[in-house]
């Protein structure tokens, strides 16, 4: 599956099928700091993602000072 990441923007190819939480673990990312979006819909951590899916992993942390 094609996975889009931010900060910095990049795309990586990950072998599916795979659950959302397994995908995040493989990329060493914390669920609490990210949203996983398939197409334009949010998916939960137990959702099975297929090879053909287009996935965006969106970071949610922001803030300066």
């Amino acid at each position: 599956m094609l996975v889009q990441l931010s900060h910095p923007y990049r795309q990586v190819e990950i072998k599916g099928p795979k659950r959302t939480k397994e995908l995040l673990r493989e990329l060493n990312l914390v669920m609490e700091a990210h949203l996983v979006i398939r197409g334009d819909e949010l998916v939960t951590e137990d959702e099975m993602l297929a090879d053909a899916d287009q996935i965006e992993i969106r970071p949610v942390i922001s803030g300066g000072a």
Partner: protein
């Protein structure tokens, strides 16, 4: 994972471990609105008659806040401060303008804009260099000043910012780590207009995590700037948030207990100034078995040992 609220168990779009819940789109939107309504009521932020000025940046928190207040029927205008950070400011300004034109205008809400460069003659990066100050600190001073000035000069009853649970927990962690007591007093979700010239300031998103607000924006198709401010890279606030998120992952509810617990202590001062020695003298008695101080008749050590001896005895 199915929605834990729907009777028909619709597919959930988000799981919330700290609430031991999962929600579909509709129930999640309702959950977010309820959390904001509870914060507004609990901290006496404003009433439906008040005119509210929302500080918007083009990010998820401030645009979601504006969206929620309008959805709940409040009279909320917004102010955007263009900081002059090149393409980042251009993009965030475009997002705010787009939201104002396509959504807020239909509620009768208007967008005010302040451009730093027009008044100061330079953007914040240049100002920070001239002043030998960190950019985030310069930015914070300018935004606080401009938002307060606009709220006071244009007769708004209250100014609302998009600070969320993660912002407040991270700020609290920073303040506690450095024992900045003066700043702790300013962490309440409602700050009164204490003196002439200060607007009342409120944080209606204080019960919601950063992830919940980002999810709300996605679910409600709010087009916000995902890109991080280039000036915030490597900031202490982001480090504190990362640390808290690791704790939250291991123990859901940590951020909420940390910040809400602090607010509880702030609003409910200690009943008495009893010292530890005075409390011990009032509550402790000699153990009936060994004589060491205990709150119970027999101390926990003696109870434990008695139980162990009983268990170790061979059965008849």
């Amino acid at each position: 994972m199915n929605c834990t609220k729907c009777p028909t168990s619709t597919r959930a779009v988000i799981g919330l471990p700290r609430h031991n819940a999962a929600f579909c789109k509709a129930c999640f939107t309702t959950f977010v609105h309820e959390q904001v309504a509870r914060a507004i009521k609990a901290f006496k932020m404003f009433t439906p008659e008040d005119r509210i000025l929302v500080a918007v940046s083009g990010g998820k928190d401030s645009l979601a806040l504006w969206h929620i207040l309008l959805a709940l029927g409040y009279r909320a205008d917004a102010l955007y401060v263009n900081l002059g950070i090149g393409a980042y400011s251009e993009e965030s300004h475009r997002k705010v303008r787009h939201y104002a034109d396509t959504v807020a205008a239909s509620h009768g809400a208007k967008l005010l804009v302040h451009v730093v460069e027009q008044e100061a003659g330079a953007g914040i990066r240049e100002l920070a260099t001239i002043l030998h100050r960190p950019t985030c600190s310069t930015c914070g001073t300018i935004k606080r000043y401009q938002f307060n000035r606009a709220a006071v000069e244009q007769d708004y009853d209250v100014m609302a910012t998009g600070h969320n649970l993660d912002d407040e927990a991270a700020r609290l962690l920073g303040n506690v780590l450095h024992w900045q007591d003066d700043y702790l007093d300013k962490q309440s979700p409602t700050l009164p207009a204490s003196v002439e010239g200060f607007a009342k300031k409120v944080k209606p998103l204080c019960r919601l995590s950063e992830r919940e607000i980002a999810a709300y924006a996605v679910v409600n198709r709010i087009d916000y700037i995902v890109e991080e401010c280039p000036m915030a890279k490597g900031s202490k606030m982001i480090l504190y948030k990362e640390v808290l998120n690791r704790l939250e992952t291991e123990s859901p509810g940590t951020k909420q207990r940390f910040y809400w617990g602090f607010l509880d202590k702030q609003t409910k001062p200690e009943a008495s100034a009893e010292s530890m020695a005075e409390k011990d003298q009032r509550t402790l008695v000699p153990c009936t078995a060994c004589g060491q101080p205990t709150t119970a008749g027999t101390c926990s050590y003696c109870k434990m040992m008695a139980k162990a001896k009983t268990a170790a005895q061979p059965r008849a």
